[in-house]
Structures are given as structure tokens and as C-alpha cells.
Symmetry: C2
Subunit: 217 residues, 2 copies
Amino acid sequence: MTLAYSLDSHDAAVPSQALVEVLDRLGSRLNVAKDTEIYAQEDEVEFLYRVADGVVRTTRLTCDGRRQVGDFYYPGDLFGLEPGPDHQFSAEALTDCKVLVVRRSVVRALAGERELDRAVLEATRRELQRVQDHVLLLGRKSAREKVAGFLMSLAHQQHDNNVQLPMGRQDMADYLGLTIETVSRTLTRLQGDAIVEFPELRRFRVTRWEALEDLAA
Amino acid sequence: MTLAYSLDSHDAAVPSQALVEVLDRLGSRLNVAKDTEIYAQEDEVEFLYRVADGVVRTTRLTCDGRRQVGDFYYPGDLFGLEPGPDHQFSAEALTDCKVLVVRRSVVRALAGERELDRAVLEATRRELQRVQDHVLLLGRKSAREKVAGFLMSLAHQQHDNNVQLPMGRQDMADYLGLTIETVSRTLTRLQGDAIVEFPELRRFRVTRWEALEDLAA
DNA sequence: CGGTTAATTGAACGCATTCAACACGAGTGG
DNA sequence: CCACTCGTGTTGAATGCGTTCAATTAACCG
């Protein structure tokens, strides 16, 4: 198959091979400590990143200090793929991280290789899809549905039914467009309804999948 | 400048030349009557579209009937650029429309032309940007701010200060994640505060830009 | 341990929703 | 020209969901 645009292929959240290779071969390995900024909002867009280990979150701050979390990125995910000349989001390490970084100019220098073109577009399109889902979540869902949907998506990507939450409640809240209190209350209520259980603060198990799916809708 | 990826160029909402050309030369001209569906949610992604005249909206329906408007597309805008194999949104003509359509396979056949590769990526990235802004709007803004922001963006793209609203209140509501009543009330309040005025139902003038900007924040 | 941060819980408030009534305009037919 | 209707927008009153502010508890780490 020799598609120039991957208008037909749609796999999981793993970037396609060509870009991964470039990052692996030409990228720098970066160790980033928890809560350290990787790039800042308003920074010039200069690099491409891939999570090798740990979790990264992107956030956006309004002038009056309200925070919106853009997304969370897990090992294998590309990030920093922003449209503009300047970053709209900042990226921070949620946990201690290993990150692969490559200058965009390097990617550009290799451009024209069909596979690589495809890979950048592919990654961008995947990003678009994630953001579109986020829009639906924010626009038309109740707190209960938002939280349920969030837990669902986590449970899906970790195939184990002993899911760990890498992020704190505040990050969940800022991702879901809620307050930390509402998230907390909603979680306890979901436990009360025996839909999930939290043996630890940052680890949960789904006890009634159907009920959770219904809510996540 | 021989960029393969337009990592550096960032203009307005107009698609870059190569794609426009393909659509103009190889696309079919479609006349679509108001409120007619152009493609449906769940349809296979098969075409690329460009608005020649009129306004198009994309919407998404949850299983239980809640509606989220994805975006509005104006003359010159590309749409139908969705990541998945199936459409997540449906597209409908908001007004009577003229739309240019081209099969993606045609675009694919022409792929490899550097300019065209660039154009598809460019368009996708622009789309991403729009959606990201939408996320911030939905996640962290009050009704007043949402409506103000929406009016602002309309006023910006029509350089006249006699802006026309192509969409009804319900569409605004579903775009902003509000109810029609809240939109209506908010509009009257904005008028009461002498920030905008509505000589007609679907036409407004900004009377106090600073105040509107403050709100849109 | 104490000290600190993160998470939970409670009570009161407020913004947006809900449900219902009303206004307005456009189109139709008497 | 008016009466009628239908769609769309506005307005009102009551409700409720999520927020806010404050206090408490739980987890973490020296």
C-alpha cells in the first residue's frame, strides 16, 4: 500500500513508524522531573516530542488564571504538534518522564520522504480526533458523565482492570471543565453506586462496566 | 521557500492554493438547499469539500439526542477533513449553499506533489487550532463570555461593523454548549449593557468593543 | 511522629436549565 | 385586510446542578 495521505488507515494512539524512527535515531533523550515545564505557552513551536516514559499533560491558561488541560500523553504518544507558530498550550511532566525531542528543522530536512509526510499528517489527524471528542465531552455532558467517560478512557488504554490514575483530582477537573470538589464528589458517588471502587487514591477498578458505559455514552 | 511541512506558515482561514486548485479544477459544483444534509454522521469519509457560497455547519448527535455543533464554515473554508474512516459529524447547509466536492481518491492520486501534501496538512492543522479554541471556550467560560466570544469571532471575520448572524439561536446554543434560552437572555443582557445592538434578529453591531473584548478574554 | 499537600465533605449560593407562557414575523387562506 | 398557524425568539418563575467557601480528613514525606 503506497498511500501518500493516510486517509484510510486508523489505528490506536501510536504514531506511525517513520516519525518514531526519526525521533529514536535523531532525537535527544530528555529526563524531565515531575512538574517541570517542557515548553511554555507562547513559546515558539520548535520541537517535536514523544513520551518514552511517564505522563505529560498540556495546559492552557486564560489571562485571568483559569486553567484548561488539553490532554494527557502516555508512553508512545507524540506531542507538541501544534498548528501555530507559537504554542497555545504549555506541556509539563505529570510524573518523572523520559521524553524524546527532535528539532522540527531536522524533520523538515528529511521531508519529502513519503513515509514521513504521511506520519506527520497522521499524527495531526489523530490529535484532531482527540480534541473533537473532548469538545463533545465538554459541551454536552453532565459532571457524572464527564467523570465516567474519563475513567472509561483510562480503563480502555490500560487493559488491566486495575487502572492507575497518574493525575491528581485538580488535573482531572481542569481537563473535564469542572472543579476539584465536583470531581471528588462525583467519584465518591460512583463508588456509592458500586460502579467503580478506589482501593487507593490513584488506582481504581471498574465493578460494573455496563453502568459505566451507559454513563459515558 | 521549499518547506515540505508548513511548520512555519500560518495565515488566515483560507486554505492554501494547491488544494483550492484541485477543487476548482476537478471538483463538482454542488448546489445544496438550506437544511439539507451534505454528509451524515457515520458516513464513510470519501470527499473533501469547500464552501463556495453560503454557510455550512457540522453537528454531532449523542445517542440520547443531545446536539453539539462542531463548527461553522464560510465561503473559502474547507470542510469534511475528518480523521477517522467514518464521519464523526454530519454537515448540513445552514443557508442555501454552493459547495465544491472532490473525491479523496482524486486527491490521493495527485499525492506526492509537494504543494498538495503541504496543503492537506495545513488545512488539518488549521482545523485543529479551531477545535482547540473551542475546547477552551466550552471548558472554562461562562455563558456571557461564550456568547461574547462568539459574537467577537463573527465580527472579526466580517470586517464590517454590521455583522450578520447566519445561524439561528439554537445553532449558537449547540455550538456554545448552552440552551437556546440562555443564549437569548445573554444577548438581551449584552444589549442592555450597550455592548452590542440588534437592529434585526440576525444582524448586530458592536457598540463597545473594549467591553466585548474584555468579556471574550 | 509533625508538617504539608491533596482529597473529601458540608452548607449556602448562583448560574444555567427547565418548563411554560407569550411575542413576533412570515406565509396562507378566508 | 384580518384570522390563523407555524416556526422562532423572548421572557418569567422555579428548580437543580455545579460552584464557592470553609472545615475536616486522609495521604505523603521529611
